[in-house]
């Protein structure tokens, strides 16, 4: 019988984190940003069918980067969880914080106990009744949760994009300005992104019960100016 070689736990965790980070860094970035009338979700995504931005519930949106099948499975579980909770209790009882915690548990579980960690980074956005109630929950591959009220960048080259975004983000911006800032930050100085390169949606306070709305085609082109 051979004795398995000793690997220090620090090394195991570091290897796993590197593995997950590499997978995530390969994908293009996405930005979630609060603005005056809600939350903007903006992803660089040339595909028109494989979605990175989705609706979870009345006031909750989802964004994922990394391995598509992994974050899509988590997205569907989130929709199921939210609909089950709303059906069993009331629509008002469904909130993003609970969902973010559940996701964190799953991601943490995979990171420490499974063969390979999930190569995903996710964002759960919740639009509040008032602007100061908007919340962005940022979830990392190892189950770390961060709670923001301004903007969050996920995916590849996030650090560079975050710096660009910090320079242009402002409290209480309208949709035009917020979208301009997000698209500018995603594109950088050397590129321009058109409507066909982007997947954009908003959770808007004036949209009624289901606040999630995709901005596509001509409507998006008009906003981009």
């Amino acid at each position: 019988m051979t004795v398995p070689m000793y690997v220090p736990p620090e090394q195991v965790m570091k290897d796993r984190a590197d593995y997950a980070r590499k997978g995530i860094a390969r994908g293009r970035a996405s930005i979630a940003s609060t603005y005056r009338d809600g939350v903007l979700l903006c992803a660089e995504n040339p595909s028109n069918t494989l979605r990175k931005v989705s609706e979870i519930y009345d006031r909750i949106g989802f964004m994922g980067v990394g391995k598509y099948n992994e974050f899509d499975q988590l997205r569907i579980a989130g929709v199921r969880h939210a609909d089950l909770k709303g059906y069993s209790y009331s629509r008002a009882d469904v909130d993003a914080r609970w969902l973010a915690n559940q996701y964190a548990q799953i991601l943490g579980q995979y990171f420490t106990h499974e063969m390979k960690p999930l190569e995903v980074e996710m964002l759960i956005a919740e639009m509040g009744p008032e602007p100061d109630g908007d919340r962005l929950f940022h979830l990392l591959y190892d189950g770390t949760v961060m709670d923001m009220t301004t903007f969050v960048v996920i995916g590849g080259e996030a650090d560079v994009i975050r710096e660009r975004m910090e320079a242009s983000w402002a409290t209480g911006a309208d949709l035009d300005t917020a979208l301009g800032a997000a698209v500018g930050a995603l594109a950088g100085p050397d590129r321009t992104l058109g409507p066909e390169d982007l997947e954009v949606a908003v959770l808007a306070r004036d949209n009624g019960r289901r606040a999630f709305q995709r901005l596509e085609g001509e409507a998006l082109a008009a906003l981009l100016g």
Binding site: R51, V79, G86, Y87, S88, Q105
Partner: protein, 267 residues
């Protein structure tokens, strides 16, 4: 509540009803046991609802009364609901199971749309209602029937469509108008005589109000306009821009107009 992550082999797909069944949260029908020889007289029953097609879509309408046997149990219940943004569902029959069916139906459509990323076709939605009615059949046979109408704007065909159902889940598409519930016979007579292909939204709404009025006039279980309490039928239009419920003031104004015409003409 455990987090609903499934292995590919156990995944319930985009159906919320299948998800409930997978988690053992669906209703156990057998709990109802044997029906009493007197049926369920104490249970509220909804009465007359109808749908009429017009050039740009469909009008749906329903009275506001629920009865338990010979008693009026509710004066202002609602029987016409949006199923999703582009379709509506109206119910007659045992009010409790009917409301629950509507709630589940609305959720089923929304759940599918969110999981799949696209809404079901109008035909697909009607078939979902068929499946729900079929699973409700044992309860219907015990004396708690639910008989819905489903109508919507078919974006693919560019026209309004309406579907009538029976308790077995039988689905019957009607061309021009449909009614269900205890006053449906009288409502249908009015619609049959007054309907024509050139009606616009405005005159179709008036036709729906008139049909409900005559149903209430002849059928004790159907509620007429209640001028004292200010309770009027629920009306909605479904067109390419979606389901839109009429404001109560608008229905009140149209009802007063009808009453004026009737009292002027019959004397």
């Amino acid at each position: 509540m455990t987090f609903p992550l499934f292995t590919p082999a156990e995944d319930p797909g985009p159906s919320f009803v299948a998800l409930l069944a997978r988690l053992g949260m669906d209703r156990p029908e057998s709990d109802l046991g044997q029906t009493s020889p007197h049926g369920f007289e104490g249970v509220a029953h909804g009465t007359t609802v109808l749908a009429v097609r017009f050039a740009d879509g469909v009008v749906m309408a329903g009275d506001r009364r629920a009865t338990s046997g010979h008693l009026i149990s509710h004066r202002s219940i609602e029987k016409v609901f949006p199923a999703d943004s582009g379709s509506g569902v109206a119910i007659a029959g045992a009010a409790g199971p009917a409301m629950e069916m509507v709630r589940l139906f609305q959720l089923q459509l929304e759940h599918y749309e969110k999981v799949e990323g696209n809404p079901l076709s109008l035909e697909g939605k009607a078939n979902q209602l068929t499946l729900m009615l079929r699973s409700h059949l044992p309860v219907a046979m015990m004396g708690l029937p639910v008989v819905p109408l489903f109508a919507g704007y078919d974006q693919q065909q560019g026209r309004g469509r309406l579907f009538q159902f029976d308790i077995t889940g039988g689905r019957y598409e009607e061309q021009d108008h449909a009614a269900t519930g205890s006053g449906s016979l009288h409502a249908t007579t009015v619609m049959k005589l007054r309907f024509n292909d050139t009606l616009d939204a405005d005159s179709t709404l008036d036709l729906a109000i008139e049909a409900l009025f005559h149903a209430a006039d002849e059928d004790s279980a159907t509620g007429g306009p209640d001028m004292i309490r200010g309770i009027f039928p629920v009306l909605a239009t479904i067109t390419s821009s979606g389901f839109e419920r009429l404001a109560d003031e608008d229905v009140a104004r149209r009802t007063s107009g009808l009453l004026d015409r009737l009292s002027g003409g019959s004397r």
